[in-house]
């Protein structure tokens, strides 16, 4: 899903990292606009719907990052959704990088030349834009995952999130008091041990368990390495910026021995700065946006899948405990009916989780493959485009230099 975004006077277009989640016209959500006010990002959430459960067919609301988190948490806490993979919460917008740069820019302003300052400002703006793009994208995808899921789209809180035209802050506070994030914390701890410890009867889940555990660690690793690689790539792009700037200085300076021979080269070097460093930078950013972001997202999604397994494993553990309790009760001859009831419920829960879990995990597989395909193709196409662009620019510059 693409759309324009505004950030302190910049317009941004974003490609979503996941599949086209808005193919169901009955509920179409996107984030067409976002505003950045110092620390807080305000997203404009735009909904178009034909569903009767909504008050209006189309509307927009302003939401903050914390609102998204609230929505995610309430869904996680909802018992009903235990058998579903809950779309991972979008990470907090991280403007640390650009903010540092802005700080440096402010400090060094007096010691820099006008050109250097302007260049640094440009770089800063580009970086800021990139962070902005990413955060909008990730928030949008979250909502779209919810809207495209048959169960989540009906969620009451989700509807409130989309519709409620006031600030959600008050509601958020109440929710926090109610749940305290207890369950969420529980899930985080020792889930791996529990999952691996469970004796699995179901072949499917056995396979899934092994796959997910293995995949999870590998994708985490790949994400980290991708991030490092992207950073290096950006450093190289940055260096080209400085080199061309220095070359430009030499060619443009009148007080050197080279001046007569490099006069006409100043323009070329300036163009080079634009071409080489900008292209390298775009290559790095696009690789990041398509590949690194993809890996990041699926690391989180894998975690959500693992959470589902955990919940199922817990349900299984509960069921096994209830069986033991029932046996005990039968032996003692006390509270048998209660124990039976308990056992039945546990079994029901477990079955339900297993059933929906299977569905979820299967569709998760498909979704993952499709997302990878889409992003890898897009990334490759972009890299080719940038490289070809770089080729033509370099060729042009070489010709000019040779002809002088």
């Amino acid at each position: 899903m693409t759309g324009p975004y505004s950030c302190c006077s910049c317009i941004v277009f974003v490609h979503s990292v996941s599949v086209d989640l808005n193919n169901d016209a009955s509920l179409v959500i996107d984030i067409p606009d976002a505003l950045c006010e110092r620390d807080k990002v305000k997203f404009t959430v735009h909904t178009k719907t034909t569903l009767s459960s909504f008050q209006k067919p189309e509307y927009s609301v302003q939401r903050q990052h914390e609102d998204f988190i609230w929505l995610h948490d309430t869904i996680v806490e909802t018992e009903e959704y235990a058998g579903l993979i809950i779309p991972p919460a979008p990470p907090k917008p991280d403007f640390e990088g650009p903010r540092e740069k802005m700080h440096k820019l402010g400090e060094g302003e007096s010691s820099m030349t006008k050109e250097e300052y302007a260049k640094m400002k440009q770089e800063l703006e580009a970086e800021y834009l990139a962070v902005f793009k990413k955060t909008v994208q990730v928030h949008e995808v979250f909502l779209q995952r919810l809207s495209s899921h048959p169960m989540f789209r009906k969620d009451r809180n989700f509807q409130i999130f989309l519709e409620y035209d006031q600030d959600l802050t008050v509601r958020r506070k109440n929710a926090k008091e109610m749940f305290g994030g207890f369950f969420k914390n529980m899930v985080k701890s020792a889930d791996e041990v529990l999952i691996s410890g469970v004796k699995e009867v179901d072949e499917f889940f056995e396979q899934e368990k092994n796959f997910l555990l293995d995949y999870s660690s590998k994708i985490k690793d790949a994400t980290a390495k991708a991030e490092k690689m992207t950073r290096s790539h950006k450093n190289v792009a940055d260096d080209y910026n400085h080199i061309s700037g220095a070359l430009n200085n030499i060619a443009a300076d009148n007080n050197t021995a080279f001046k007569k021979h490099l006069e006409k080269c100043a323009e070329v070097f300036e163009k080079l700065r634009v071409s080489i460093s900008k292209v390298e930078d775009r290559m790095a950013s696009d690789q990041e946006l398509k590949l690194t972001e993809l890996l990041r997202y699926y690391t989180r999604d894998i975690q959500a899948a693992k959470d589902l397994l955990y919940r199922r494993a817990r349900a299984l553990a509960d069921y096994e405990n209830s069986n033991k309790a029932l046996d005990k009760a039968r032996l003692k001859g006390k509270d048998v009916a209660q124990a039976e009831e308990n056992q039945k419920q546990c079994l029901q829960k477990f079955d339900k989780l297993s059933e929906s879990g299977k569905k979820e995990l299967t569709s998760f597989k498909a979704r993952r493959v499709v997302a990878f395909r889409k992003n890898l193709i897009e990334m490759t196409e972009l890299e080719i485009k940038h490289a070809k662009n770089s080729v033509s620019l370099l060729q042009g510059s070489i010709e000019v230099l040779k002809s002088n």
């Binding site: 796959f211 293995d214 995949y215 590998k218 994708i219 690793d221 790949a222 390495k225 991708a226 490092k228 690689m229 950073r231 290096s232 790539h233 450093n235 190289v236 940055d238 260096d239 080209y240 400085h242 080199i243 700037g245 220095a246 070359l247 200085n249 030499i250 300076d253 007080n255 050197t256 021995a257 080279f258 001046k259 007569k260 021979h261 490099l262 080269c265 080079l272 080489i276 597989k365 993952r368 493959v369 990878f372 395909r373 890898l376 193709i377 490759t380 196409e381 890299e383 080719i384 490289a387 070809k388 770089s390 080729v391 370099l394 060729q395 510059s397 070489i398 230099l401 040779k402 002088n404």
Partner: protein
């Protein structure tokens, strides 16, 4: 330069007839401006005129026409004997004739009020050995400096003579690095009217060109009279001090002084500006080099990070259950691997084409600066040789008057030895200057061309890498599309 044995050293300013005449001047030009002929430097041509020149050679004097001194040694100052190029002060060299006629002629020019003076005949025995034989020229050259260092101090006011004939003599000490002077430091004694004369000459030549000529201090009869009369009171001391300071300021005023440059200084300007260029360039190249160094390092990092990432993706692909995706991921790993190799090669180019080139240049520029330093050293040797020669000549002159013929031969030998040394040094310097100049021009042309060529080469290597990149990704695209 070495053959002017028949020269007569100019007599010291503090001789009888001068006194008288200066007196006249002092008294007379109360009312006048300082335009009348009060300088000792007339516009005599540079050809040395013998003391016996007839009065009808008045026409070779400037309109200010005062007594003339024999023109000596002007050709020995500076390194270019080409007399056409010598400046104002060579022209202004005063030739002193020791005949009465000229002094009379002089008196005529001064004006009707000259009668008050008590002009005595100029005795023929003015020939006094001067300790500093190049007084006139030195003073002239002193004032004609350029942006090289030239510090002039006017000190030691001394009352010379008595009564109305007395005058104040100031010691003018010069300290200079100007190449045209034979000595680095020297001093002469001058009196106020000499300064006025200098001012005259500068004005005449350069005010027409629109130069700012700092005016000399005012003549003050009263002040001077007091001094002459010998009143040792504070007011006269103050007057003297004021005048001394003013004279110092006059000679040190760079505007007037800077205007007097000779061809040789232009050449030094060239060297000066070239040195600036070289230093400036070195600075810029260093900055470029630092940026390229940074690139080389980051590129190396990128290499290793890409390799690591490639392995990680391969691992991920091996775990992936979907076979098509798994294949695609392994392909991606291979692409990343190829990219790592490309980066590696590019890093080589970065380093060998660019970084090493820059390091070379910076070293070369350092060598160029050494050349400049060498030239300065040769110059210094020349200076020292000239200074020694000077001393030897002075020694000879002393011996002449002290009448010690036995030592005279030795002195003459010394002089000969040092004269040839000076010539040698001069030749050396000429040669060094010429060579450095040629080398620098050659360096500029070749190295600049070289530099550009290397930049082009580097860009071509980048181009090559980008081509390969395109190929890599284009090969991968179908694999990505094949994911199902």
């Amino acid at each position: 330069m070495s053959g002017s044995c028949g020269r007569i050293p100019p007599p010291f300013p503090d001789n009888e007839d001068q006194e008288a005449e200066s007196d006249t001047r002092v008294l007379d030009s109360d009312e006048d401006d300082d335009d009348e002929g009060e300088d000792i430097f007339t516009g005599a041509r540079s050809n040395p005129i013998t003391p016996t020149s007839a009065p009808d050679e008045c026409d070779i004097f400037s309109e200010e026409g005062s007594y003339i001194r024999s023109d000596v040694h002007h050709a020995t100052n500076g390194l270019h004997p080409d007399e056409e190029e010598l400046d104002l002060f060579t022209e202004a060299t005063v030739e002193l004739t020791l005949t009465n006629t000229t002094s009379q002629g002089r008196r005529e020019i001064i004006g009707p009020t000259a009668s008050a003076c008590n002009t005595t005949q100029v005795p023929n025995s003015i020939l006094k050995p001067s300790i500093v034989t190049k007084t006139t020229e030195e003073l002239e050259e002193e004032e004609s400096g350029d942006q090289f260092e030239l510090n002039i101090a006017v000190t030691n006011p001394e009352k010379i003579g008595d009564g109305m004939n007395a005058y104040m003599s100031y010691k003018v000490s010069t300290q200079t690095t100007l190449p045209m002077f034979l000595n680095k430091t020297f001093s002469v004694r001058r009196r106020f009217s000499d300064f006025l004369g200098l001012y005259e000459k500068i004005s005449a030549k350069h005010s027409l060109l629109g130069c700012i000529i700092p005016p000399p201090p005012q003549k003050s009869v009263v002040g001077m009279t007091k001094v002459k009369v010998g009143k040792e009171d504070s007011s006269s001391a103050e007057f003297v001090e004021k005048r001394r300071a003013a004279l110092e300021r006059l000679t040190n005023s760079s505007d007037a002084v800077n205007k007097m440059t000779i061809k040789m200084n232009e050449s030094d300007n060239w060297f000066e500006s070239k040195l600036q260029e070289v230093e400036n360039e070195e600075q810029l190249l260093r900055r470029l080099h630092a940026a390229v160094d940074s690139l080389v390092n980051h590129r190396k990092e990128l290499c290793s990070n890409t390799a690591v990432f490639s392995k990680s993706v391969a691992m991920l692909g091996s775990v992936e259950e979907n076979s098509a995706l798994s294949r695609a991921l392994s392909q991606l790993a291979e692409v990343e691997d190829k990219m790592e190799q490309l980066h590696q090669q590019q890093a080589f180019s970065d380093f060998f084409i660019l970084a090493e080139l820059l390091a070379d240049y910076i070293r070369l520029l350092g060598a160029v600066r050494c050349c400049f330093e060498q030239r300065m050293k040769v110059w210094q040797r020349l200076q020292e040789a000239q200074s020694t020669l000077q001393k030897k000549r002075e020694a000879e002159a002393k011996l002449l008057w002290a009448n010690k013929p036995e030592k005279l031969q030795q002195a003459k030998d010394d002089i000969n030895e040092w004269e040839s040394k000076v010539s040698q040094c001069e030749r050396d310097f000429e040669r060094v200057t010429c060579t450095v100049r040629k080398e620098l021009l050659r360096f500029e042309k070749e190295k600049a061309r070289d530099f550009k060529q290397h930049i082009v080469k580097y860009l071509e290597s980048l181009l090559h890498t980008q081509h390969r990149l395109v190929k890599c990704w284009e090969a991968f695209l179908p694999e990505a599309k094949a994911i199902a």
